[in-house]
Symmetry: C2
Protein backbone atom coordinates (compact mmCIF):
# COMPACT_ATOMS: atom_id res chain seq x y z
CA UNK A 1 0.00 0.00 0.00
CA UNK A 2 1.33 3.38 -1.03
CA UNK A 3 0.86 5.54 2.05
CA UNK A 4 4.00 7.63 2.50
CA UNK A 5 4.23 11.21 1.25
CA UNK A 6 7.49 13.03 0.64
CA UNK A 7 7.89 16.81 0.84
CA UNK A 8 10.94 18.65 -0.45
CA UNK A 9 11.40 22.33 0.40
CA UNK A 10 14.23 23.78 -1.69
CA UNK A 11 15.87 26.93 -0.37
CA UNK A 12 18.92 28.89 -1.41
CA UNK A 13 21.01 27.65 1.52
CA UNK A 14 19.33 24.43 2.61
CA UNK A 15 16.96 21.77 1.38
CA UNK A 16 14.49 20.34 3.87
CA UNK A 17 13.01 16.91 3.18
CA UNK A 18 10.29 15.12 5.09
CA UNK A 19 8.43 11.86 4.83
CA UNK A 20 4.92 11.84 6.24
CA UNK A 21 1.72 9.91 6.65
CA UNK A 22 -1.28 10.76 4.44
CA UNK A 23 -2.52 12.85 7.37
CA UNK A 24 0.61 14.96 7.18
CA UNK A 25 2.23 13.63 10.33
CA UNK A 26 5.98 13.75 9.77
CA UNK A 27 7.74 10.37 9.94
CA UNK A 28 11.24 11.71 9.41
CA UNK A 29 12.93 14.92 8.34
CA UNK A 30 16.35 15.83 7.10
CA UNK A 31 18.18 19.02 6.17
CA UNK A 32 20.88 19.22 3.48
CA UNK A 33 23.01 22.20 2.50
CA UNK A 34 21.85 23.20 -0.98
CA UNK A 35 25.41 23.55 -2.33
CA UNK A 36 24.25 25.43 -5.39
CA UNK A 37 27.87 25.64 -6.61
CA UNK A 38 27.67 21.91 -7.48
CA UNK A 39 25.02 22.62 -10.11
CA UNK A 40 21.39 21.46 -10.22
CA UNK A 41 22.11 17.86 -11.32
CA UNK A 42 24.34 17.15 -8.31
CA UNK A 43 21.92 18.89 -5.95
CA UNK A 44 19.15 16.77 -7.45
CA UNK A 45 21.13 13.59 -6.85
CA UNK A 46 21.78 14.55 -3.20
CA UNK A 47 18.09 15.19 -2.77
CA UNK A 48 17.09 11.84 -4.28
CA UNK A 49 19.67 9.97 -2.20
CA UNK A 50 18.25 11.51 0.97
CA UNK A 51 14.71 10.52 0.00
CA UNK A 52 15.83 6.94 -0.72
CA UNK A 53 17.67 6.72 2.61
CA UNK A 54 14.73 8.13 4.51
CA UNK A 55 12.32 5.65 2.91
CA UNK A 56 14.65 2.70 3.61
CA UNK A 57 12.72 -0.54 3.30
CA UNK A 58 9.49 1.37 2.59
CA UNK A 59 10.52 2.63 -0.85
CA UNK A 60 7.54 0.90 -2.47
CA UNK A 61 5.16 2.75 -0.14
CA UNK A 62 5.98 6.19 -1.56
CA UNK A 63 2.70 7.65 -2.85
CA UNK A 64 3.54 11.17 -4.02
CA UNK A 65 6.14 13.92 -3.81
CA UNK A 66 5.46 17.61 -3.25
CA UNK A 67 8.14 20.20 -3.99
CA UNK A 68 8.37 23.82 -2.89
CA UNK A 69 10.88 26.00 -4.73
CA UNK A 70 11.86 29.65 -4.88
CA UNK A 71 10.11 31.53 -7.70
CA UNK A 72 10.06 31.83 -10.64
CA UNK A 73 8.78 28.40 -11.54
CA UNK A 74 6.48 26.96 -14.18
CA UNK A 75 3.86 25.02 -12.21
CA UNK A 76 2.21 23.46 -15.25
CA UNK A 77 5.41 22.25 -16.89
CA UNK A 78 7.06 21.41 -13.57
CA UNK A 79 10.12 23.58 -14.19
CA UNK A 80 12.27 25.58 -11.80
CA UNK A 81 13.04 28.56 -14.03
CA UNK A 82 15.92 30.68 -12.74
CA UNK A 83 15.52 31.73 -9.10
CA UNK A 84 18.07 34.34 -8.04
CA UNK A 85 19.19 32.16 -5.10
CA UNK A 86 19.57 28.96 -7.17
CA UNK A 87 22.41 29.97 -9.45
CA UNK A 88 22.64 28.06 -12.76
CA UNK A 89 19.19 26.50 -12.35
CA UNK A 90 17.47 27.36 -15.59
CA UNK A 91 14.25 25.62 -16.58
CA UNK A 92 15.27 22.62 -14.47
CA UNK A 93 12.60 19.92 -15.06
CA UNK A 94 12.40 18.76 -11.47
CA UNK A 95 8.89 17.28 -11.75
CA UNK A 96 9.74 15.01 -14.70
CA UNK A 97 13.06 13.98 -13.18
CA UNK A 98 11.55 13.07 -9.78
CA UNK A 99 8.70 11.30 -11.52
CA UNK A 100 11.15 9.22 -13.63
CA UNK A 101 13.19 8.41 -10.55
CA UNK A 102 10.39 7.48 -8.14
CA UNK A 103 7.46 6.69 -10.44
CA UNK A 104 4.91 8.58 -8.33
CA UNK A 105 2.91 11.78 -8.91
CA UNK A 106 5.06 14.87 -8.34
CA UNK A 107 3.73 18.40 -7.85
CA UNK A 108 5.75 21.60 -7.78
CA UNK A 109 4.72 24.96 -6.39
CA UNK A 110 6.53 28.08 -5.24
CA UNK A 111 7.73 28.30 -1.65
CA UNK A 112 5.24 30.93 -0.52
CA UNK A 113 2.29 28.98 -1.95
CA UNK A 114 3.64 25.82 -0.34
CA UNK A 115 3.95 27.55 3.03
CA UNK A 116 0.41 28.93 2.65
CA UNK A 117 -0.93 25.43 1.98
CA UNK A 118 1.12 24.02 4.86
CA UNK A 119 -0.32 26.54 7.33
CA UNK A 120 -3.79 26.00 5.86
CA UNK A 121 -3.67 22.21 6.24
CA UNK A 122 -1.53 21.72 9.30
CA UNK A 123 -0.99 25.11 10.99
CA UNK A 124 -2.71 28.38 11.89
CA UNK A 125 -5.22 28.08 9.04
CA UNK A 126 -6.72 24.72 9.98
CA UNK A 127 -10.50 24.81 9.62
CA UNK A 128 -10.47 27.89 7.37
CA UNK A 129 -11.42 27.99 3.72
CA UNK A 130 -9.88 31.24 2.48
CA UNK A 131 -6.44 32.19 3.76
CA UNK A 132 -3.90 34.90 3.02
CA UNK A 133 -0.37 33.87 3.98
CA UNK A 134 2.31 36.56 4.11
CA UNK A 135 5.97 35.77 4.60
CA UNK A 136 8.16 38.60 5.85
CA UNK A 137 11.75 37.56 5.50
CA UNK A 138 14.73 38.68 3.38
CA UNK A 139 11.98 39.50 0.89
CA UNK A 140 8.19 39.62 1.23
CA UNK A 141 6.00 37.04 -0.46
CA UNK A 142 2.57 35.60 -0.12
CA UNK A 143 0.20 32.81 -0.97
CA UNK A 144 -3.57 32.73 -1.30
CA UNK A 145 -5.79 29.77 -0.45
CA UNK A 146 -9.32 30.00 -1.79
CA UNK A 147 -11.85 27.27 -1.22
CA UNK A 148 -9.08 25.12 0.22
CA UNK A 149 -6.91 25.29 -2.89
CA UNK A 150 -3.82 27.33 -3.76
CA UNK A 151 -5.03 30.16 -5.96
CA UNK A 152 -2.46 30.64 -8.73
CA UNK A 153 -3.87 33.22 -11.11
CA UNK A 154 -2.29 33.88 -14.49
CA UNK A 155 1.42 33.04 -14.74
CA UNK A 156 1.19 31.57 -11.21
CA UNK A 157 1.48 35.22 -10.29
CA UNK A 158 -1.09 35.59 -7.50
CA UNK A 159 -0.24 36.53 -3.93
CA UNK A 160 2.77 38.76 -4.57
CA UNK A 161 1.89 41.18 -1.78
CA UNK A 162 5.54 42.23 -1.46
CA UNK A 163 5.26 44.02 -4.78
CA UNK A 164 2.08 45.90 -4.11
CA UNK A 165 2.86 49.61 -4.03
CA UNK A 166 2.25 51.38 -0.72
CA UNK A 167 4.36 54.47 -1.23
CA UNK A 168 4.02 55.48 -4.86
CA UNK A 169 5.17 59.07 -4.63
CA UNK A 170 8.35 59.00 -2.58
CA UNK A 171 9.17 55.32 -2.18
CA UNK A 172 12.56 53.97 -3.18
CA UNK A 173 13.13 51.88 -6.29
CA UNK A 174 12.56 48.19 -5.57
CA UNK A 175 14.67 45.44 -7.17
CA UNK A 176 11.55 44.54 -9.16
CA UNK A 177 11.61 47.89 -10.92
CA UNK A 178 8.66 49.52 -9.19
CA UNK A 179 8.82 52.37 -6.71
CA UNK A 180 7.48 52.09 -3.17
CA UNK A 181 6.74 48.34 -3.04
CA UNK A 182 5.94 46.94 0.39
CA UNK A 183 9.09 44.81 0.11
CA UNK A 184 11.31 47.83 -0.51
CA UNK A 185 10.35 49.20 2.91
CA UNK A 186 9.56 46.23 5.14
CA UNK A 187 11.62 43.23 3.99
CA UNK A 188 14.53 42.21 6.20
CA UNK A 189 17.21 43.65 3.96
CA UNK A 190 15.35 46.95 3.76
CA UNK A 191 14.78 47.17 7.51
CA UNK A 192 18.55 46.83 7.75
CA UNK A 193 19.16 49.32 4.93
CA UNK A 194 16.95 51.99 6.45
CA UNK A 195 18.69 51.55 9.79
CA UNK A 196 22.17 51.70 8.29
CA UNK A 197 21.28 54.88 6.39
CA UNK A 198 20.26 56.63 9.60
CA UNK A 199 23.29 55.33 11.50
CA UNK A 200 25.52 56.54 8.67
CA UNK A 201 23.86 59.94 9.00
CA UNK A 202 25.12 60.05 12.57
CA UNK A 203 22.03 59.17 14.65
CA UNK A 204 22.73 57.71 18.05
CA UNK A 205 21.63 54.15 18.87
CA UNK A 206 22.59 51.21 21.07
CA UNK A 207 23.29 49.40 17.79
CA UNK A 208 26.68 51.18 17.73
CA UNK A 209 27.58 49.31 20.93
CA UNK A 210 26.16 46.01 19.64
CA UNK A 211 28.25 45.82 16.45
CA UNK A 212 31.74 46.88 15.52
CA UNK A 213 30.70 47.64 11.94
CA UNK A 214 27.32 49.18 11.17
CA UNK A 215 27.43 47.40 7.80
CA UNK A 216 26.69 44.22 9.77
CA UNK A 217 23.24 45.47 10.85
CA UNK A 218 20.46 42.99 10.08
CA UNK A 219 16.74 43.02 10.81
CA UNK A 220 17.55 40.84 13.84
CA UNK A 221 19.89 43.56 15.16
CA UNK A 222 17.04 46.06 14.85
CA UNK A 223 14.62 43.76 16.68
CA UNK A 224 17.15 43.29 19.48
CA UNK A 225 17.66 47.06 19.75
CA UNK A 226 13.87 47.60 19.87
CA UNK A 227 13.75 45.21 22.83
CA UNK A 228 16.31 47.50 24.49
CA UNK A 229 14.01 50.48 23.86
CA UNK A 230 16.42 52.07 21.43
CA UNK A 231 14.83 55.16 19.93
CA UNK A 232 16.19 54.83 16.38
CA UNK A 233 15.38 51.11 16.14
CA UNK A 234 11.88 51.73 17.51
CA UNK A 235 11.20 54.40 14.89
CA UNK A 236 12.41 52.06 12.13
CA UNK A 237 10.28 49.24 13.53
CA UNK A 238 7.16 51.41 13.91
CA UNK A 239 7.48 52.54 10.33
CA UNK A 240 7.93 48.91 9.25
CA UNK A 241 4.78 47.84 11.08
CA UNK A 242 2.85 50.80 9.72
CA UNK A 243 3.58 50.00 6.07
CA UNK A 244 3.11 46.27 6.62
CA UNK A 245 -0.31 47.10 8.04
CA UNK A 246 -1.13 49.22 4.99
CA UNK A 247 -0.04 46.47 2.59
CA UNK A 248 -1.79 43.69 4.50
CA UNK A 249 -4.80 45.96 4.99
CA UNK A 250 -5.09 46.52 1.25
CA UNK A 251 -4.94 42.76 0.67
CA UNK A 252 -7.62 42.23 3.33
CA UNK A 253 -9.82 44.89 1.70
CA UNK A 254 -9.52 43.09 -1.64
CA UNK A 255 -9.67 39.47 -0.50
CA UNK A 256 -11.53 39.51 2.81
CA UNK A 257 -9.74 36.33 3.92
CA UNK A 258 -10.92 34.42 6.97
CA UNK A 259 -7.42 34.66 8.38
CA UNK A 260 -4.13 36.36 7.62
CA UNK A 261 -1.15 34.22 8.61
CA UNK A 262 2.20 35.94 8.99
CA UNK A 263 5.34 33.81 8.65
CA UNK A 264 8.95 34.20 7.56
CA UNK A 265 12.08 35.09 9.51
CA UNK A 266 10.87 38.51 10.66
CA UNK A 267 7.80 36.88 12.24
CA UNK A 268 10.23 35.30 14.72
CA UNK A 269 10.07 38.74 16.40
CA UNK A 270 6.80 37.39 17.80
CA UNK A 271 4.54 39.83 19.63
CA UNK A 272 6.84 42.71 18.72
CA UNK A 273 5.46 42.26 15.20
CA UNK A 274 2.09 40.64 15.82
CA UNK A 275 0.74 43.09 18.41
CA UNK A 276 1.18 46.13 16.12
CA UNK A 277 -0.24 44.22 13.14
CA UNK A 278 -3.33 43.12 15.07
CA UNK A 279 -3.79 46.73 16.18
CA UNK A 280 -2.97 48.52 12.92
CA UNK A 281 -4.34 46.30 10.12
CA UNK A 282 -7.99 46.80 11.17
CA UNK A 283 -7.32 50.57 11.11
CA UNK A 284 -6.25 50.22 7.47
CA UNK A 285 -9.46 48.39 6.49
CA UNK A 286 -12.79 50.18 6.38
CA UNK A 287 -15.08 47.68 4.69
CA UNK A 288 -14.78 44.67 7.02
CA UNK A 289 -15.69 44.81 10.72
CA UNK A 290 -12.52 44.71 12.89
CA UNK A 291 -13.74 41.59 14.71
CA UNK A 292 -13.77 39.70 11.39
CA UNK A 293 -10.11 40.47 10.72
CA UNK A 294 -7.99 37.67 12.18
CA UNK A 295 -4.21 37.94 12.04
CA UNK A 296 -2.12 35.07 13.36
CA UNK A 297 1.51 34.14 13.37
CA UNK A 298 2.46 31.04 11.36
CA UNK A 299 2.27 28.02 13.65
CA UNK A 300 4.79 25.91 11.77
CA UNK A 301 7.48 28.57 12.01
CA UNK A 302 10.51 27.85 9.84
CA UNK A 303 8.85 24.64 8.67
CA UNK A 304 5.70 26.05 7.04
CA UNK A 305 7.32 25.36 3.68
CA UNK A 306 8.33 21.80 4.54
CA UNK A 307 4.86 20.94 5.83
CA UNK A 308 3.59 22.74 2.74
CA UNK A 309 5.58 20.45 0.46
CA UNK A 310 3.98 17.50 2.27
CA UNK A 311 0.58 19.15 1.85
CA UNK A 312 1.24 19.51 -1.87
CA UNK A 313 2.13 15.81 -2.02
CA UNK A 314 -1.14 15.03 -0.27
CA UNK A 315 -3.04 17.03 -2.90
CA UNK A 316 -1.25 15.03 -5.61
CA UNK A 317 -1.96 11.78 -3.79
CA UNK A 318 -5.64 12.47 -3.34
CA UNK A 319 -5.82 13.51 -6.96
CA UNK A 320 -7.51 16.79 -6.15
CA UNK A 321 -4.66 18.90 -7.45
CA UNK A 322 -4.80 19.80 -11.10
CA UNK A 323 -1.17 19.73 -12.08
CA UNK A 324 0.94 16.66 -11.66
CA UNK A 325 3.00 14.24 -13.64
CA UNK A 326 2.07 10.59 -13.38
Amino acid sequence: MKNILAGIDIGGTKIAIATATPDGELLDKRFLPTQTHLGPEAVFENMCRAVVEMLGDDADKLAAIGVGSPAPIDVEKGLILSPSNLQDWDRFPIVDLLNERFDVPVVLDNDANAAALGEFMFGAGRGCRDVLYVTVSTGIGGGIIINGEIYHGVSTGAGEIGHTVVRPDDGILCNCGLRGCLESICAGVHIARRTKERLAAGESSVIRDMLSDIEDVTAETVVEAVRQNDRLATEIWDETCRYLAIGIGNAVTLLAPEIVIVGGGISMAGELLMEPLRRLVPRCVSMIPPEKIRIRRAELGAESGLHGAVAIARKAYSGSHLMYAV
Copy 2:
Protein backbone atom coordinates in the same frame (compact mmCIF):
# COMPACT_ATOMS: atom_id res chain seq x y z
CA MET B 1 -41.72 24.31 -17.81
CA LYS B 2 -39.99 26.94 -15.69
CA ASN B 3 -37.58 28.61 -18.08
CA ILE B 4 -37.76 32.35 -17.49
CA LEU B 5 -35.25 34.17 -15.27
CA ALA B 6 -35.86 37.57 -13.73
CA GLY B 7 -33.12 40.01 -12.81
CA ILE B 8 -33.67 43.07 -10.64
CA ASP B 9 -30.94 45.70 -10.36
CA ILE B 10 -31.79 48.13 -7.58
CA GLY B 11 -30.12 51.53 -7.72
CA GLY B 12 -30.55 54.73 -5.75
CA THR B 13 -32.35 56.49 -8.58
CA LYS B 14 -33.73 53.72 -10.76
CA ILE B 15 -34.58 50.04 -10.68
CA ALA B 16 -33.86 48.00 -13.78
CA ILE B 17 -35.77 44.76 -14.29
CA ALA B 18 -35.27 42.15 -16.98
CA THR B 19 -36.76 38.82 -17.90
CA ALA B 20 -34.47 36.45 -19.74
CA THR B 21 -34.01 32.97 -21.12
CA PRO B 22 -31.85 30.47 -19.19
CA ASP B 23 -29.02 31.45 -21.57
CA GLY B 24 -29.28 35.03 -20.36
CA GLU B 25 -30.86 36.43 -23.49
CA LEU B 26 -33.10 39.31 -22.41
CA LEU B 27 -36.79 38.87 -23.25
CA ASP B 28 -37.90 42.22 -21.88
CA LYS B 29 -36.55 45.02 -19.74
CA ARG B 30 -38.07 47.86 -17.83
CA PHE B 31 -36.80 50.81 -15.81
CA LEU B 32 -38.64 52.30 -12.81
CA PRO B 33 -37.71 55.34 -10.78
CA THR B 34 -36.72 54.01 -7.34
CA GLN B 35 -38.77 56.65 -5.45
CA THR B 36 -37.02 55.89 -2.17
CA HIS B 37 -39.19 58.54 -0.47
CA LEU B 38 -42.13 56.09 -0.69
CA GLY B 39 -40.32 53.66 1.61
CA PRO B 40 -39.11 50.12 0.90
CA GLU B 41 -42.55 48.41 1.04
CA ALA B 42 -44.01 50.63 -1.69
CA VAL B 43 -40.86 50.33 -3.80
CA PHE B 44 -41.07 46.56 -3.37
CA GLU B 45 -44.69 46.54 -4.53
CA ASN B 46 -43.79 48.58 -7.63
CA MET B 47 -41.01 46.14 -8.38
CA CYS B 48 -43.27 43.10 -8.03
CA ARG B 49 -45.98 44.68 -10.16
CA ALA B 50 -43.46 45.29 -12.95
CA VAL B 51 -42.27 41.67 -12.81
CA VAL B 52 -45.85 40.39 -12.95
CA GLU B 53 -46.67 42.65 -15.91
CA MET B 54 -43.51 41.63 -17.74
CA LEU B 55 -44.24 37.92 -17.25
CA GLY B 56 -47.85 38.33 -18.40
CA ASP B 57 -49.29 34.94 -19.28
CA ASP B 58 -45.95 33.25 -18.52
CA ALA B 59 -46.06 33.78 -14.75
CA ASP B 60 -45.86 30.04 -14.13
CA LYS B 61 -42.65 29.85 -16.18
CA LEU B 62 -40.64 32.00 -13.75
CA ALA B 63 -37.72 29.86 -12.57
CA ALA B 64 -35.61 32.13 -10.37
CA ILE B 65 -34.97 35.76 -9.44
CA GLY B 66 -31.59 37.42 -9.03
CA VAL B 67 -31.28 40.74 -7.24
CA GLY B 68 -28.41 43.23 -7.25
CA SER B 69 -28.48 45.89 -4.54
CA PRO B 70 -26.22 48.64 -3.25
CA ALA B 71 -24.09 47.50 -0.29
CA PRO B 72 -24.23 46.81 2.58
CA ILE B 73 -26.29 43.67 2.30
CA ASP B 74 -26.40 40.32 4.08
CA VAL B 75 -26.06 37.75 1.30
CA GLU B 76 -26.73 34.74 3.52
CA LYS B 77 -29.83 36.13 5.19
CA GLY B 78 -31.00 37.89 2.03
CA LEU B 79 -31.25 41.32 3.66
CA ILE B 80 -30.62 44.77 2.25
CA LEU B 81 -29.08 46.41 5.31
CA SER B 82 -28.95 50.19 5.08
CA PRO B 83 -27.38 51.48 1.85
CA SER B 84 -26.71 55.22 1.93
CA ASN B 85 -28.67 55.71 -1.30
CA LEU B 86 -31.70 53.67 -0.17
CA GLN B 87 -32.92 55.83 2.66
CA ASP B 88 -35.02 54.04 5.32
CA TRP B 89 -34.12 50.58 4.00
CA ASP B 90 -32.88 48.80 7.07
CA ARG B 91 -32.45 45.02 7.07
CA PHE B 92 -35.12 44.77 4.39
CA PRO B 93 -35.74 41.01 3.82
CA ILE B 94 -36.02 41.22 0.06
CA VAL B 95 -35.12 37.57 -0.57
CA ASP B 96 -37.81 36.16 1.71
CA LEU B 97 -40.40 38.63 0.45
CA LEU B 98 -39.74 37.89 -3.23
CA ASN B 99 -39.67 34.19 -2.49
CA GLU B 100 -43.05 34.38 -0.72
CA ARG B 101 -44.50 36.39 -3.56
CA PHE B 102 -43.21 34.34 -6.52
CA ASP B 103 -42.40 30.95 -4.97
CA VAL B 104 -39.08 30.59 -6.81
CA PRO B 105 -35.44 30.62 -5.65
CA VAL B 106 -34.22 34.17 -5.02
CA VAL B 107 -30.58 35.20 -4.69
CA LEU B 108 -29.27 38.58 -3.57
CA ASP B 109 -25.81 40.01 -4.13
CA ASN B 110 -24.30 43.47 -4.11
CA ASP B 111 -24.34 45.55 -7.28
CA ALA B 112 -20.60 45.35 -7.99
CA ASN B 113 -20.57 41.56 -7.57
CA ALA B 114 -23.64 41.32 -9.79
CA ALA B 115 -21.99 43.45 -12.47
CA ALA B 116 -18.83 41.32 -12.22
CA LEU B 117 -20.87 38.16 -12.75
CA GLY B 118 -22.81 39.80 -15.59
CA GLU B 119 -19.63 40.73 -17.45
CA PHE B 120 -18.16 37.31 -16.70
CA MET B 121 -21.15 35.41 -18.07
CA PHE B 122 -22.41 37.68 -20.82
CA GLY B 123 -19.83 40.43 -21.40
CA ALA B 124 -16.10 41.13 -21.60
CA GLY B 125 -15.21 38.20 -19.33
CA ARG B 126 -16.82 35.41 -21.38
CA GLY B 127 -14.53 32.41 -21.52
CA CYS B 128 -12.45 33.50 -18.54
CA ARG B 129 -12.30 31.80 -15.15
CA ASP B 130 -10.85 34.48 -12.87
CA VAL B 131 -12.00 38.06 -13.34
CA LEU B 132 -11.50 41.34 -11.53
CA TYR B 133 -14.30 43.81 -12.23
CA VAL B 134 -13.78 47.44 -11.23
CA THR B 135 -16.54 50.01 -11.39
CA VAL B 136 -15.46 53.64 -11.50
CA SER B 137 -18.49 55.79 -10.95
CA THR B 138 -19.70 58.16 -8.22
CA GLY B 139 -17.74 55.78 -5.98
CA ILE B 140 -15.33 52.96 -6.82
CA GLY B 141 -16.27 49.34 -6.24
CA GLY B 142 -15.30 45.94 -7.45
CA GLY B 143 -16.18 42.30 -7.74
CA ILE B 144 -14.02 39.21 -7.99
CA ILE B 145 -14.89 36.06 -9.91
CA ILE B 146 -12.76 33.03 -9.07
CA ASN B 147 -13.31 29.71 -10.75
CA GLY B 148 -16.45 31.10 -12.32
CA GLU B 149 -18.08 32.02 -9.00
CA ILE B 150 -18.45 35.33 -7.18
CA TYR B 151 -15.80 35.34 -4.46
CA HIS B 152 -17.36 36.87 -1.36
CA GLY B 153 -14.81 36.52 1.43
CA VAL B 154 -15.72 37.19 5.06
CA SER B 155 -18.65 39.55 5.58
CA THR B 156 -19.19 39.54 1.80
CA GLY B 157 -16.36 42.05 1.96
CA ALA B 158 -14.13 41.02 -0.94
CA GLY B 159 -13.40 43.19 -3.94
CA GLU B 160 -13.56 46.62 -2.33
CA ILE B 161 -10.74 48.02 -4.41
CA GLY B 162 -12.05 51.56 -3.91
CA HIS B 163 -10.95 51.42 -0.30
CA THR B 164 -7.45 50.15 -0.86
CA VAL B 165 -5.01 52.84 0.19
CA VAL B 166 -2.80 54.26 -2.56
CA ARG B 167 -1.68 57.48 -0.93
CA PRO B 168 -1.20 56.77 2.76
CA ASP B 169 0.97 59.71 3.68
CA ASP B 170 -0.71 62.74 2.18
CA GLY B 171 -4.05 61.47 0.90
CA ILE B 172 -7.29 63.09 1.95
CA LEU B 173 -9.71 61.55 4.41
CA CYS B 174 -12.18 59.26 2.62
CA ASN B 175 -15.83 58.93 3.67
CA CYS B 176 -14.94 55.45 4.89
CA GLY B 177 -12.59 56.86 7.52
CA LEU B 178 -9.28 55.92 5.88
CA ARG B 179 -6.80 58.32 4.34
CA GLY B 180 -5.71 58.07 0.71
CA CYS B 181 -8.19 55.46 -0.56
CA LEU B 182 -8.33 55.00 -4.32
CA GLU B 183 -11.95 56.22 -4.18
CA SER B 184 -10.99 59.48 -2.44
CA ILE B 185 -8.86 60.43 -5.47
CA CYS B 186 -10.40 58.77 -8.51
CA ALA B 187 -14.16 58.40 -7.95
CA GLY B 188 -16.41 60.73 -9.93
CA VAL B 189 -17.21 63.02 -7.03
CA HIS B 190 -13.52 63.34 -6.19
CA ILE B 191 -12.48 64.03 -9.77
CA ALA B 192 -15.00 66.88 -9.56
CA ARG B 193 -13.80 67.96 -6.10
CA ARG B 194 -10.14 68.12 -7.13
CA THR B 195 -11.08 70.17 -10.18
CA LYS B 196 -13.26 72.57 -8.22
CA GLU B 197 -10.50 73.11 -5.67
CA ARG B 198 -8.07 74.16 -8.38
CA LEU B 199 -10.64 76.33 -10.12
CA ALA B 200 -11.43 77.97 -6.78
CA ALA B 201 -7.71 78.64 -6.38
CA GLY B 202 -7.90 80.68 -9.58
CA GLU B 203 -6.44 78.35 -12.22
CA SER B 204 -7.56 79.01 -15.77
CA SER B 205 -9.57 76.42 -17.66
CA VAL B 206 -12.14 76.15 -20.44
CA ILE B 207 -14.43 74.79 -17.72
CA ARG B 208 -15.09 78.41 -16.70
CA ASP B 209 -16.67 78.97 -20.13
CA MET B 210 -18.57 75.69 -20.01
CA LEU B 211 -20.42 76.34 -16.74
CA SER B 212 -21.83 79.40 -15.06
CA ASP B 213 -21.09 78.02 -11.60
CA ILE B 214 -17.95 75.99 -10.91
CA GLU B 215 -19.88 74.16 -8.19
CA ASP B 216 -21.65 72.37 -11.05
CA VAL B 217 -18.45 70.66 -12.21
CA THR B 218 -18.83 66.89 -12.56
CA ALA B 219 -16.47 64.20 -13.78
CA GLU B 220 -18.25 64.46 -17.14
CA THR B 221 -17.33 68.16 -17.30
CA VAL B 222 -13.70 67.23 -16.74
CA VAL B 223 -13.80 64.57 -19.46
CA GLU B 224 -15.31 67.05 -21.89
CA ALA B 225 -12.61 69.62 -21.03
CA VAL B 226 -9.90 66.98 -21.53
CA ARG B 227 -11.27 66.38 -25.01
CA GLN B 228 -10.80 70.13 -25.59
CA ASN B 229 -7.15 69.78 -24.50
CA ASP B 230 -7.70 71.89 -21.41
CA ARG B 231 -4.50 71.92 -19.35
CA LEU B 232 -6.09 71.83 -15.88
CA ALA B 233 -8.56 69.07 -16.80
CA THR B 234 -5.77 67.05 -18.44
CA GLU B 235 -3.64 67.26 -15.30
CA ILE B 236 -6.57 66.14 -13.14
CA TRP B 237 -7.31 63.31 -15.56
CA ASP B 238 -3.68 62.17 -15.79
CA GLU B 239 -3.49 62.06 -11.98
CA THR B 240 -6.75 60.09 -11.90
CA CYS B 241 -5.46 57.54 -14.39
CA ARG B 242 -2.13 57.28 -12.56
CA TYR B 243 -3.73 56.42 -9.21
CA LEU B 244 -6.29 54.13 -10.82
CA ALA B 245 -3.37 52.29 -12.42
CA ILE B 246 -1.65 51.98 -9.04
CA GLY B 247 -4.79 50.65 -7.37
CA ILE B 248 -5.67 48.27 -10.20
CA GLY B 249 -2.00 47.30 -10.47
CA ASN B 250 -1.91 46.34 -6.78
CA ALA B 251 -5.02 44.22 -7.27
CA VAL B 252 -3.47 42.56 -10.32
CA THR B 253 -0.28 41.85 -8.34
CA LEU B 254 -2.33 40.15 -5.63
CA LEU B 255 -4.93 38.37 -7.74
CA ALA B 256 -3.30 37.84 -11.13
CA PRO B 257 -6.72 37.78 -12.82
CA GLU B 258 -7.09 36.65 -16.42
CA ILE B 259 -8.83 39.92 -17.18
CA VAL B 260 -9.59 43.24 -15.53
CA ILE B 261 -12.91 44.66 -16.64
CA VAL B 262 -13.53 48.36 -16.05
CA GLY B 263 -17.12 49.55 -15.87
CA GLY B 264 -19.14 52.31 -14.23
CA GLY B 265 -20.07 55.79 -15.38
CA ILE B 266 -16.50 57.04 -15.72
CA SER B 267 -15.71 54.18 -18.10
CA MET B 268 -18.07 55.89 -20.55
CA ALA B 269 -15.04 58.14 -21.22
CA GLY B 270 -13.93 55.20 -23.36
CA GLU B 271 -10.40 55.29 -24.76
CA LEU B 272 -9.66 58.44 -22.78
CA LEU B 273 -9.66 56.12 -19.75
CA MET B 274 -8.80 52.76 -21.24
CA GLU B 275 -5.71 53.77 -23.24
CA PRO B 276 -3.91 55.17 -20.16
CA LEU B 277 -4.97 52.17 -18.05
CA ARG B 278 -3.70 49.66 -20.62
CA ARG B 279 -0.43 51.60 -20.75
CA LEU B 280 0.02 52.34 -17.03
CA VAL B 281 -1.29 49.26 -15.17
CA PRO B 282 1.45 46.97 -16.55
CA ARG B 283 4.00 49.55 -15.36
CA CYS B 284 2.58 49.20 -11.85
CA VAL B 285 2.94 45.39 -11.87
CA SER B 286 6.33 43.74 -11.75
CA MET B 287 5.51 40.08 -11.14
CA ILE B 288 3.28 39.32 -14.15
CA PRO B 289 4.46 39.68 -17.75
CA PRO B 290 2.80 42.71 -19.41
CA GLU B 291 1.33 40.54 -22.18
CA LYS B 292 -0.60 38.56 -19.53
CA ILE B 293 -2.30 41.68 -18.18
CA ARG B 294 -5.58 42.19 -20.04
CA ILE B 295 -7.66 45.27 -19.31
CA ARG B 296 -10.99 45.69 -21.06
CA ARG B 297 -13.91 48.03 -20.82
CA ALA B 298 -17.19 46.51 -19.64
CA GLU B 299 -19.15 45.35 -22.68
CA LEU B 300 -22.57 45.63 -21.12
CA GLY B 301 -22.07 49.29 -20.24
CA ALA B 302 -24.75 50.66 -17.94
CA GLU B 303 -26.45 47.25 -17.95
CA SER B 304 -23.67 45.11 -16.46
CA GLY B 305 -25.64 45.08 -13.23
CA LEU B 306 -28.93 44.14 -14.87
CA HIS B 307 -27.34 41.31 -16.84
CA GLY B 308 -25.60 40.42 -13.58
CA ALA B 309 -28.91 40.10 -11.77
CA VAL B 310 -30.02 37.71 -14.52
CA ALA B 311 -26.72 35.83 -14.16
CA ILE B 312 -27.37 35.52 -10.42
CA ALA B 313 -30.84 34.14 -11.18
CA ARG B 314 -29.24 31.63 -13.51
CA LYS B 315 -26.89 30.51 -10.72
CA ALA B 316 -29.90 30.06 -8.46
CA TYR B 317 -31.79 28.23 -11.17
CA SER B 318 -28.95 25.83 -11.89
CA GLY B 319 -28.54 25.31 -8.17
CA SER B 320 -24.82 26.04 -8.26
CA HIS B 321 -25.08 29.11 -6.07
CA LEU B 322 -24.80 28.48 -2.35
CA MET B 323 -27.21 30.99 -0.93
CA TYR B 324 -30.81 31.08 -1.90
CA ALA B 325 -34.23 30.77 -0.42
CA VAL B 326 -36.51 28.09 -1.93
